[in-house]
């Protein structure tokens, strides 16, 4: 047992000594490899944590939302629809939900006005999300102004700023009373943005949605599951930047594998011959090559994932911000809850460390099993 351990260790000694001979090349390899794994693991950590958080938080989203579709897009829905939907069996309540967008031309930012169903802010005041507070340098007590639908300026007292830690949900929100919002947006009194339903039995969501479309063909019900599914599909591997990152990682990896698989240099061949001539078995040579692959790829894997974790969960994904921010002015600064899926880590391991190690071993196979007499000349 100790004999085998010493054998492994001695062979590792040799492997590292020979890797260190080409410090520049192998160092660069390690850096690039680590960088690839860092990027991959950052993307995976980020998307997984975001999805988990969305799934958990949006569990509380409305059970069914009914929109009205007109001219192919959604439009305010008449309040009278509420009473008709209420008639459907299984529907417990139907409440209007009033909300809308506001484009702030001065700051090039989009805000979302929301009218809370319970405890709205008093008339003449607003509660703003921390993103807006930061952008507009507004704090509680300040007066904040918006331009009404009729072009007239409207101003409100900032009653409160929503907690920083809920930025992922609320950075751009403005809570306002219904009468203020109707005056600001000009939405007629008999219309609201959409309707929120409560249903007796969650198994009935689908049937009720079906009944609603039958009853009111110009509406579109959105079930909570669909909301959850939307966020489960976010950052799927096909979406823009993710595919760019994954494909460049894959390409870089192919280059590595190519470099390895195209075979050994004459010098490496000669060395393997020497090792065999002085008494190494083929299996010792292959073991050495196995460690050569593993030393590099395991180091890169551990280093890359550790850095990826630090980047995403401690460094707030600072490298992704420019991408996520896109053209938006208002961007939430959020710290994701570090939900880590070990299955994903295992997948990264299986897709990087394993093939790398194998492509290191395979080309040596033939050389390792040759007779060593070539080194005699």
């Amino acid at each position: 047992m100790t004999g085998n351990f010493e054998r492994q260790r001695s062979i590792i000694d040799f492997t590292i000594a020979s890797l260190l001979r080409r410090k520049g090349k192998n160092g660069a390899l390690l850096v690039v490899y680590t960088l690839i794994i860092f990027l991959l693991s950052s993307v995976i950590f980020f998307t997984h944590a975001l999805k988990r958080e969305a799934a958990q938080v949006l569990q509380e989203a409305p059970e069914i939302i009914v929109q009205r579709t007109l001219t192919g897009r959604y439009q305010p829905i008449p309040l009278s629809y509420a009473a008709r939907i209420r008639e459907i069996r299984g529907v417990v309540s139907v409440r209007p939900r009033l909300w809308g967008y506001y484009y702030d031309g001065n700051f090039l930012a989009n805000y979302t006005f929301v009218i809370p169903d319970e405890f709205p802010p008093p008339v003449g005041s607003v509660i703003i999300g921390s993103g807006i507070a930061k952008l507009r340098e507004a704090s509680p007590g300040d007066i904040i102004g918006f331009t009404g639908y009729d072009g007239k300026p409207q101003s409100y007292r900032v009653k409160e700023v929503l907690a920083e830690q809920s930025q992922l949900l609320s950075a751009d929100l403005i809570l306002i009373s219904e009468s203020d919002y109707r005056a600001l947006s000009g939405i007629p009194a008999d219309l609201t943005t959409d309707l929120v339903l409560k249903v007796r039995n969650r198994k009935e969501f689908a049937t009720i949605a079906e009944k609603i479309t039958k009853l009111l063909p110009d509406t579109r019900p959105i079930i909570r599951n669909e909301i959850l599914r939307t966020y489960d599909a976010i950052f799927s591997w096909r979406s823009g930047i993710v595919i760019v990152i994954f494909s460049s990682a894959a390409l870089a990896f192919v280059i590595f594998a190519w470099d390895k698989a195209t075979g050994l240099s004459a010098e490496e061949r000669k060395e393997i011959g020497i090792l065999k001539a002085v008494g190494w078995e083929s299996s010792d040579v292959l073991l050495m090559k196995f460690w050569e692959g593993l030393v590099i790829s395991l180091s890169a894997f551990l280093l890359g994932t550790v850095l990826g974790y630090i980047h995403v969960f401690i460094g707030s994904s600072i490298l992704f911000v420019p991408v996520l921010k896109g053209w938006s002015t208002l961007y939430p600064e959020f710290k994701l809850v570090p939900f880590v899926d070990f299955g994903h880590l295992a997948a990264i391991f299986a897709l990087t460390v394993v093939p790398y190690t194998i492509t290191t071993i395979i080309p040596s196979w033939r050389v390792a099993t040759m007779d060593p007499d070539s080194v005699l000349r």
Binding site: E6, S10, A17, R21, L275, G279, W280, S282, D373, V375
Partner: protein, 237 residues
């Protein structure tokens, strides 16, 4: 004792560049003796050394090491026998560049799983025997020719094999270093090693160290002389 019976070696058999390197070579290597293979370049000395040392298999003929028939053994056994039985000193030294002298000496023992500290101590002892202790941590590229060869000798001895095989050991050495090499061989012989040298250097084959000189030409044994009576002289004088 090693017995080679009717050894033949054909390179690139059945191809246009087929080459018969050895034909019907029979030699006996006796324990604790020095045997010298002598002959012009291309006469098949290296090929024969490789076969005797179990690095390559003969095309025809048999090698018997002690009681054991080697020719039919599978690769794995052959390697482990080679490791325990033979220490090779190659013509080009074949040290691994970029590593230190000490590491090079220890390499043949790595797969054996010996405790590192013991192995290191042993390697340093052997190096000290050859005046190499101060060069232990020097890289191979920094060594002089003589030092490099002594490292190669130390490496051949690390697994304490009963046989030492050296191919043209003096080819890269000046006269003084060549004599030093022969002195080392003498010491090894005194310590009970069996030595096989291939050389066409008179310093080697005229040495009184040799019990047996085998003269080769064109892949055949011309003559075998024992106890210093050098057969080649009678033939070519």
């Amino acid at each position: 004792m090693i017995n080679a019976h009717g050894i033949g070696k054909v390179f690139n058999a059945d191809q246009p560049n087929e080459f018969i390197a050895l034909t019907d070579v029979s030699v006996a290597i006796h324990l604790n003796e020095v045997t010298i293979l002598k002959g012009p370049s291309g006469s098949g000395k290296t090929t024969l050394l490789g076969i005797i040392g179990c690095m390559a298999r003969p095309t025809t003929g048999r090698i018997v090491l002690g009681e054991r028939e080697m020719t039919s053994l599978p690769e794995r056994f052959l390697t482990s026998i080679r490791r325990q039985t033979f220490g090779f000193i190659f013509q080009q030294f074949n040290l691994i560049k970029g590593l230190t002298a000490l590491e090079n000496v220890m390499i043949p023992a790595y797969p054996l799983g010996e405790k590192h500290s013991l192995l290191r101590e042993r390697a340093l002892e052997i190096m000290a025997l050859f005046n190499l202790a101060h060069r232990a941590d020097a890289r191979i590229e920094w060594l002089s020719g003589g030092e490099a060869q002594r490292v190669a000798i130390a490496r051949a001895l690390i697994n304490d094999p009963p046989f030492i095989i050296a191919d043209e050991p003096t080819a890269h050495l000046d006269t003084k270093l060549s004599r030093e090499f022969m002195a080392i061989m003498r010491r090894l012989k005194e310590n009970g090693k069996t030595i096989v040298l291939a050389s066409h250097d008179p310093i080697v084959y005229d040495s009184d160290l040799a019990e047996q000189v085998i003269e080769m030409c064109d892949g055949r044994v011309l003559s075998t002389g024992r106890n210093g009576r050098q057969a080649g002289l009678t033939l070519f004088a």
